[in-house]
């Protein structure tokens, strides 16, 4: 990462607002009190796009924490990244049907470590003291204003990696020492009862997933809680808006464990709306491999995200070897 860090191109802090401006290839990213502005070359001139600074930082934070995730992470309807697993595209307008058709889009591919180092440097500089881009809006301070300190602890979180199941010896930890989130104060904290016969100590294992989730201090940040070969259970707690439109490079499944989430589903390539899916507790739905989706959760909810991490899946879907729809019936 030290080589990647040395490739980060940043200006001196602005005399006006205190923030640095960053260059990534031919992209330029800057922020002021309220907005992030992204500039890129297309059709013989520099184009520009603005996002709310809060929305940009929430999206960028997920992209970093998820290591660019599976497929496309659309920060909004214009800007986003596509993961090629080792290399990453940053694009503007490329997956916006109208901008693509007009030829004002631009994509540039970067070494994964280079773009990761730049995004991390952006977060370190642009996230002010008191603002946590992982937190629900009612649980954090403002993202806006001139530069005021930093919040390194908040932006250094990553996805929890689990080898088999949390709480097993040598595996990821449980969350018994973390506080219960205000929205889950009514969730039972009791644990399963395990009775082992002599000679089998430590061979049986269980934990309360709902207790574990009730103590999550982040939103829209899946953690792995069960590994069955390449099948990963990645539950998460959700409140307010998923800060990105996730574009699928494989089929993903959602199981709503509590409360309700509404999903806007659009075409992966153009963003054209396809459906609105309302999921209530106990509902199961697939997100096909040719869509993008963004969720809305009015009350903090528990969502079981289920992923298949078989290595060659993106290629098989892209080549048409696999249907984008998981079941034909």
């Amino acid at each position: 990462m030290s080589t990647a860090l040395s490739k980060v191109v940043a200006s001196d802090p602005s005399n006006e607002n205190g923030y640095r401006t960053f260059k990534l290839g031919k992209f330029e990213l800057s922020r002021d009190e309220y907005f992030v502005t992204i500039r890129w070359p297309a059709k013989g001139q520099m184009r520009s796009h603005q996002m709310s600074a809060e929305a940009f930082l929430r999206a960028c934070m997920r992209d970093v924490a998820w290591n660019f995730f599976y497929g496309w992470v659309n920060f909004d309807h214009v800007i986003g990244t596509r993961n090629h697993y080792g290399q990453v595209d940053l694009y503007a307008g490329t997956f916006n049907g109208i901008m693509k058709q007009a030829g004002v889009d631009y994509t540039e591919r970067f070494d994964g470590a280079h773009i990761m180092a730049t995004f991390k440097a952006i977060l370190r500089d642009w996230v002010n003291e008191g603002f946590d881009p992982f937190a629900a809006p009612v649980e954090t301070g403002t993202a806006f204003g001139t530069k005021q300190g930093e919040n390194i602890e908040a932006i250094e979180r990553t996805r929890i990696q689990t080898k088999r199941m949390p709480g097993l010896t040598g595996d990821s930890p449980l969350r018994n020492d973390m506080p219960i989130n205000r929205a889950f104060a009514d969730v039972s904290q009791d644990e399963p009862e395990i009775i082992e016969e002599p000679g089998f100590k430590g061979q049986l294992h269980a934990f309360s997933l709902f207790k574990y989730l009730s103590r999550s201090d982040v939103t829209w940040n899946p953690s792995v809680t069960a590994v069955c070969k390449a099948s990963l259970a990645c539950p998460t707690t959700e409140e307010y808006i998923l800060p990105v439109f996730h574009g699928n490079d494989r089929v993903e499944w959602f199981i709503q464990l509590s409360d309700e989430i509404v999903w806007d589903v659009g075409d992966k390539n153009t963003g054209a709306p396809r459906a609105r899916v309302t999921m209530k507790a106990g509902d199961v739905a697939a997100m096909p491999a040719d869509i993008r989706h963004q969720g809305y959760s009015k009350k903090r909810s528990m969502l079981y995200v289920w992923e298949n991490v078989t290595p060659d899946l993106p290629k098989r879907y892209e080549q048409g070897d696999l249907s984008p729809f998981p079941v034909d019936f």
Partner: protein, 161 residues
């Protein structure tokens, strides 16, 4: 602060799909409590399928047969109360076998112990073991596993169309 809403086999609401373009079937939308309410006890109904990997729903009522599996499975109790007994099998299923199989009425092996689950509790069902559920209160189990001989697919019956 509003109450956290969990569903149950006797009290659930199903969501919906508003289509702009395409087919509701593309979302393979079902509800685990509805599926369990219409299932036979311990019928392993597939509600999620990602190539060979599946999520199965079981109605936990009375006692199940002994199951065995060559790979890890995970049981999440979504409703009710369930006890799971474990046996270390003398002859576990071959490693190449995916999904759960029936282990017979009296599988040969050593008693490992038991786990008692309530709503929201998740148990590891370790590879090479036999396990048997006993519902002490009517319940619903969501099981992460691989498509196998006992998996039941009935998508037309369970999914929104």
């Amino acid at each position: 602060m509003s109450t956290t809403v969990f569903g149950s086999i006797s009290d659930y609401q199903k969501g919906s799909i508003e289509i702009v373009s395409g087919d509701p079937k593309h979302y393979v939308f079902s509800n685990i409590f509805e599926v369990a309410s219409k299932s036979k006890p311990y019928e392993r109904v597939v509600v999620g399928k990602n190539l060979e990997y599946v999520q199965e729903v079981m109605r936990a009522e009375g006692q199940s047969p002994w199951f065995a599996c060559a790979h890890d499975e995970f049981a999440l109790c979504m409703d009710g109360e369930v006890e799971i007994e474990f046996l270390k099998l003398k002859e576990p299923p071959p490693e190449s076998k995916n999904g759960a199989i029936l282990a017979g009425d009296t599988p040969e092996g050593k008693r490992m112990g038991l786990i008692r689950l309530k709503r929201g509790h998740q148990a590891l069902l370790p590879a090479g073991c036999a396990y048997r559920f006993t519902a002490t209160k009517l319940g619903v189990i969501l099981q992460q596993t691989i498509l196998g001989d006992l998996s039941v697919e009935k998508w037309n019956e369970i999914c929104l169309q």
